[in-house]
Symmetry: C2
Subunit: 360 residues, 2 copies
Amino acid sequence: MSRVYNFSAGPAMLPESVLLRARDEMLDWQGSGMCVAEMSHRGKEFMAIAAKAEADLRELLGVPANYKVLFLQGGASTQFAMVPMNLLRGAEGADYLNTGSWSKKAIAEARRYGRVNVAATTEDEHFTRAPKQSELKLKSAAAYLHYTPNETIEGVEFPYVPDCGGTPLVADMSSTLLSRPIDVSRFGVIYAGAQKNIGPAGLTIVIVREDLIGQPLAGTPTMLDYKIQADNDSMYNTPPTYAWYLAGLVFQWVKDLGGLDAMAVINQRKAQMLYGVIDASGFYTNPVAPDARSWMNVPFTLPTPDLDDPFLKGAKAAGLTTLKGHRSVGGMRASIYNAMPEAGVQALVAYMAEFERTHG
Amino acid sequence: MSRVYNFSAGPAMLPESVLLRARDEMLDWQGSGMCVAEMSHRGKEFMAIAAKAEADLRELLGVPANYKVLFLQGGASTQFAMVPMNLLRGAEGADYLNTGSWSKKAIAEARRYGRVNVAATTEDEHFTRAPKQSELKLKSAAAYLHYTPNETIEGVEFPYVPDCGGTPLVADMSSTLLSRPIDVSRFGVIYAGAQKNIGPAGLTIVIVREDLIGQPLAGTPTMLDYKIQADNDSMYNTPPTYAWYLAGLVFQWVKDLGGLDAMAVINQRKAQMLYGVIDASGFYTNPVAPDARSWMNVPFTLPTPDLDDPFLKGAKAAGLTTLKGHRSVGGMRASIYNAMPEAGVQALVAYMAEFERTHG
């Protein structure tokens, strides 16, 4: 067996120690005689697994007691609807920041439920920077401000948390949650699809302040009502138990590494290594403003698109996979989430240097 | 390691050969150097896994070409909303059969979107039988007829497929799909949470006739629109890839056993063995009319509730777990889905006979 360094934007690499443990427990979780996927979600074994995962996530992020942590299904795309359905509460509309492909999708979905004020957009600049605080044209009557701290496709992230006064701040943290410490108390809702830093696809983490729960729009499906999910501890119906378990193993792995402070140091080092090589090369280009470059998703282009195929072919032969950029941006994209080892980034930059030497 | 016979109503046992294969492929799926959970859902490896799973399911069930097969999230409880949101299409309401706890939940959710005509109910009889075709008071203007072929909690199943003329028939087959052959062409929509006969929790199979797709109610979340999911081959956003893969392994396992005809023979044999012991005992009781007894979920009571704890304790010691009945019914429930080996049912009936001998 030869593991590859997989730079997929998500689903993405999982820590090898997590996979090894899941493998070892596949037929018998801790003497239970069952795979976790076989356990009743109401049984004491799974209840313990679920509770430990939540407790570890709360500890890692420092989630205050007045926030619920939900383990849901449907991905961020389902949250695009759940946020307005649950948070509009009679307000005319909400503020949204438009900073990339995922912001745009969130905005389009929100428009189906209320008025959206685009409080800032960088679309004219091809989403290559984050708007400054002073540029945000917030409405005082907005039910909430929604933004995307890290845009997976464009590789652009906010170097700051927007200040929106007393308005609840909602963040799609799909590609950034767990990559570094955050101050949860600044947010009303944080949500994240699991398939980047957390675990397998099919699990969605939602962290929601308790006072924002309740009073959904008429016609909100029961399963999309934060209150129903919160009141039932994410077990109104059968939750995605195996994904929850794997996420719990990932949380334990982050704790063992030293928590989010340690994770941030490693992630920043990986990102700097890659951007450093790009900037020094004169061969590779990243278009994003330096202060808004993503630690997680690093898009870059070669001098000409003709070189893309040879680059990808050589990379694959070197065990470096899924580097093709999103079709809307072109070129390459290296996603370097938590589980991408530093050795993987080192192998990538070594390959990039060699490719430049032979094709530059 | 000692595997148990786990009679959970779901999540439930998975075939041991499926778990062994998943274990062996955990760090490296077929030389890819990746766990399936790490693969991009757009990559050629996962696209092949997904396509094979769908093809195998279509083959097993004989799904006609004019039906879409969707691999979604959210469980049957999400379908309780998706069905009316997608199928009402301007009709005043729909017909529902009320034959157990899950029917009731489906009805309650549908009432939020339109008028529900309860075309038959057995609630007065504690859901211990299926209504006859002649009892169904169907409305000609109904958008569809919804029923629950197998009620997981009460252990009651329809011995026939209702005839509703040209009205689309919608079935929550969560606890019965894949247990035997069905004629898909008689249905408009079939849906099933995976965690009984199909795979892990977190995956929902929806089989929908193409002419019923489109025209959702205003305000239907994009993710809950069958058309969006169908047009995007269940990849409008990231699907639950690992659950999809495990379901594919289960489909292959059913094919290897001889398909649904063979599965039905085994399942009927298991059910008859268990009901036979109950009926012959004078100690154990099952309240369901013989023609409507579930092959999948077998509830039974002991002469007095005082015996429940000793029964469960002894069963657990014998490696027979999760036999406690649902709180709304009491007593015991043995769920004997596809992956419960005949040896498991044999062990259960042997234990029951011994318990009766020592406590009768």
